[in-house]
Amino acid sequence: MRATWWLRNPRYFLFMVREFSSVFVAAFLVLFLLQIRGLRAGAEVYQEYLERLHEPGWIAFHAVAFLFAMYHSLTWFDLTSKIQVVRLGRTVVNRRIVAGLNILAWLVVSGGIFLYWTRG
């Protein structure tokens, strides 16, 4: 197979995008860990770190990482609904409903955390 096999078919391409999205999710997590380390190093270091995050490059990185994380999460819910069979009595629940409910729950939890964060 050629190295460009994933350009042959749009679904292969989306699969590769999903795989690639992990890089950004991982990079964000590494930064997050660095942030925690900065916190331990004292208020000043942490403040410096926070300020650096306001630079356009970092904002751009986070915007891209956020999009990839969203894509990864949404496809994750979609894929798990293909794997997980949910039965109600004798009937199998349509997987789109399962995926939809999962996404809804995810949004509710995210919203809750966001509210807690901004108000608390």
């Binding site: 197979m1 096999w5 679904r11 699969f15 795989e19 293909k82 794997i83 039965r87 004798r90």
Partner: protein, 260 residues
């Protein structure tokens, strides 16, 4: 039912490879008369009967169930008897042998590898103790049947192997159809062969090779959904592995469908 024609001829580019004359596969163009109700296989047969008798391809049932006639049509794996010329607006239509398989000749590929893998997963009912025939059939509820029925629909047409980039990159991979059939027997209430199949399923080149591209399910002409079978096998295998740590000796049918 209409035999009316929106176009009267059609151009095809067909892969030719005759081992005694050709060093490698190449395309050959044909232009043949066509009608709206012709499937790709009809076009191939027209060529074979009236244009070029040396063109070789497999086919038999012409109704999408024998699984012989898979080819790549414009880069997509298809059953040539179940796909209409009228659905391809752009000419020429490219017809190639299924990818990811060695080519024997023209559109004929070598599927020996699949036959070996199929046998490796022991796709038959395994019982610890056979029930004598005199005691009649195994009872099976509609729900028990429904659990595995979808996965028993595989016609071994090889489209999924052709669609699977993992198989293309690592030909050792067990592959979608064999994994789906293994899973089909694991889910069957009459079967007790889960443990015997596990070495082939959960090996290095078994289900864990699958990265869930999902294209096998997209191309499957019989809605077997091998991608689901593979992922659910992973869940079941992981569960039974976990189970064997927590509750040694506990295993059974209940775990195999994924935690439902």
């Amino acid at each position: 039912m209409k035999a009316s024609t929106s176009r009267s001829t059609i151009k095809l580019e067909v892969t030719r490879y005759r081992p005694s004359v050709d060093s490698e596969p190449h395309d050959q163009s044909y232009e043949i008369p066509c009608t709206d109700d012709m499937v790709v296989l009809d076009a191939l047969n027209y060529i074979k009967d009236r244009v070029d008798g040396t063109l070789s391809f497999r086919w038999s049932c012409h109704m999408g169930v024998c699984g012989s006639c898979g080819v790549m049509v414009n880069g997509q794996p298809k059953l040539s008897c179940a796909i209409f010329l009228r659905d391809y607006k752009r000419e020429p239509i490219h017809i190639e042998p299924l990818t990811n398989f060695p080519i024997i000749r023209d559109l004929v590929t070598d599927i020996t590898d699949f036959m070996t893998k199929l046998k490796a997963v022991k796709p038959w009912i395994i019982r610890k103790k056979e029930k004598p025939l005199s005691e009649g059939e195994y009872r099976q509820s509609a729900e028990e049947l429904e659990r595995y029925h979808q996965f028993s629909g595989c016609i071994n047409c090889m489209l999924c192997y052709s669609a699977c980039p993992v198989y293309g990159l690592h030909p050792g991979f067990l592959g979608p159809a064999a994994a789906a059939l293994a899973y089909r027997y694991n889910l069957d209430s009459r079967d007790q062969g889960n443990d015997e199949r596990q070495p082939a399923i959960a090996s290095q080149e078994g289900i864990w090779e699958c990265t869930f591209v999902g294209e096998c399910t997209v191309v499957c002409p019989k809605d077997v959904d091998p991608a689901a079978a593979l992922q659910r096998s992973k869940v079941a295998t992981a569960q039974s592995l976990l189970g064997s740590f927590i509750l040694p000796r506990a295993s059974g049918k209940s775990a195999t469908e994924g935690s439902s």
